[in-house]
């Protein structure tokens, strides 16, 4: 029996998840509908004009990440919760190494999050008249922030899929792990809105990169124990 490589197995898991998701669109529609509802609420209640010009960068950066974070919380746990609830987790466990499963699920969640960002960010910028001074910094903060968000959420999803009260536990467990990168991403977004050079945000990017590295490594190491429990 040949041993499959982790990468090819993880890609198979990723493709399988995309195909399942495409057939039902459960997670995608939950995420996008939630994001849309929150955007409307924020746009209506806060709007572009209700805040003084100098307060806008701070308030808008915070709101943007709140929308992204809570949208993520509605959909990213599905990758494991659905496997566990429908009874397919055992079949997966008997077929692929844990590392490949984590990687495949992480890719699936990143794809889902990318879709949410493509939907939320342009709408948010337009609805709130939020102007960005340094686009490269803004895009890098979004990229590194969402990698951290996906890596920690995917790991947390694996934990809650084995617990009861999965829906409530997911956010409770994810928030403490995600507070540091969210705080950093908010500052990074604010800097991108006010400073035109990327230099001002370099330390934020370093911080996010370090977090992404640490959380992905830790999740890789701990995932096997969680998923095979």
């Amino acid at each position: 029996m040949s041993r499959p490589s982790v990468l090819s197995s993880s890609i198979a898991v990723f493709q399988k998840d995309l195909r399942s998701e495409w057939r039902t669109r459960t997670a995608v529609s939950a995420l996008l509908l939630f994001a849309f509802a929150v955007l409307i609420l924020v746009g209506y209640a806060v709007g572009p004009a209700n805040i003084s010009r100098e307060d806008r960068p701070v308030v808008h950066s915070v709101l943007l990440w709140i929308v992204i974070f809570f949208s993520a919380m509605t959909g990213l746990s599905r990758v494991f919760v659905h496997e566990e609830e429908s009874g397919t987790a055992a079949a997966l466990r008997l077929s692929a190494p844990s590392a490949a499963i984590y990687l495949g699920k992480l890719l699936a969640n990143l794809a889902l999050l990318a879709l949410v960002l493509l939907f939320v960010v342009p709408l948010f910028l337009a609805l709130m008249s939020f102007s960005i001074a340094c686009w490269p910094l803004f895009l890098l903060v979004l990229l590194l922030g969402s990698i951290g968000l996906a890596a920690a959420s995917t790991f947390t999803a694996a934990i809650v899929s084995k617990a009861s009260a999965k829906g409530a536990m997911f956010a409770v467990l994810a928030i403490p792990l995600l507070l540091p990168p969210l705080v950093a991403a908010v500052s990074g977004t604010r800097i991108a809105a006010t400073e035109s050079g990327i230099a001002a945000g370099l330390d934020i990017l370093q911080l996010l990169l370090a977090y992404d590295g640490v959380v992905t490594t830790a999740a890789f190491l701990l995932f096997d124990a969680v998923f095979r429990e």
């Binding site: 399988k16 466990r93 008997l94």
Partner: protein, 214 residues
Amino acid sequence: MLYPPPVFLKAENVTRSFGVRRIFGPLSFEVAPGTVFGIAGRNGAGKTTLIKMLAGLIRPTSGRVLVASSREPGAALLSPRDTPLALGWAAPDLALYGELTPAENLAFFAKVRGEDDSPKRIDAKIERVGLDPKRLASVETRFLSTGMRQRLKLAFATLSEPTVLFLDEPSSNLDEAGRAIVAKVVAEQRRGGTVLIASNDTRDLGLADEVMTL
């Protein structure tokens, strides 16, 4: 007789407790290649727990389980957790992906295990459990009847010619033709492999050479 005897599955003093409440054990037994081993017992005796433990899906509270890593004579005995690909598993609480067709399901598991996922091989696997691959080509698994899904689980369990095939309640939801398929799958598997059946059904247990009652 060869010594040590060739063994495909070995349980050494395994126990399982829930907190301090012991469910069963300590149990020790060996299953040789070509043998069908039955596990019987009243409801709640721990049949499903035991067979899950033997397949490495749950950890024994104490003791250990070893399974053959391949069908080669003298293959290494490893913890089932370290050689999951050598094991076949079908159980009532197992499910395949409802959103995928039967062929997509089996092709996915073949691909993830690094095996041939060509339509020819997959269709042959589907035919082996008495399903028509052409008729089911565009039917998602969630729309199949429970009996058809049970047959598909048997196809999943035997997909990679496992050393040990674990069947928990294999005939649940199956008609007479389905039961014949179970008998056929068991007969094929015992050629060079081993089968474990946990069941209360006397006809399932009738397939076994040896029955242990919990």
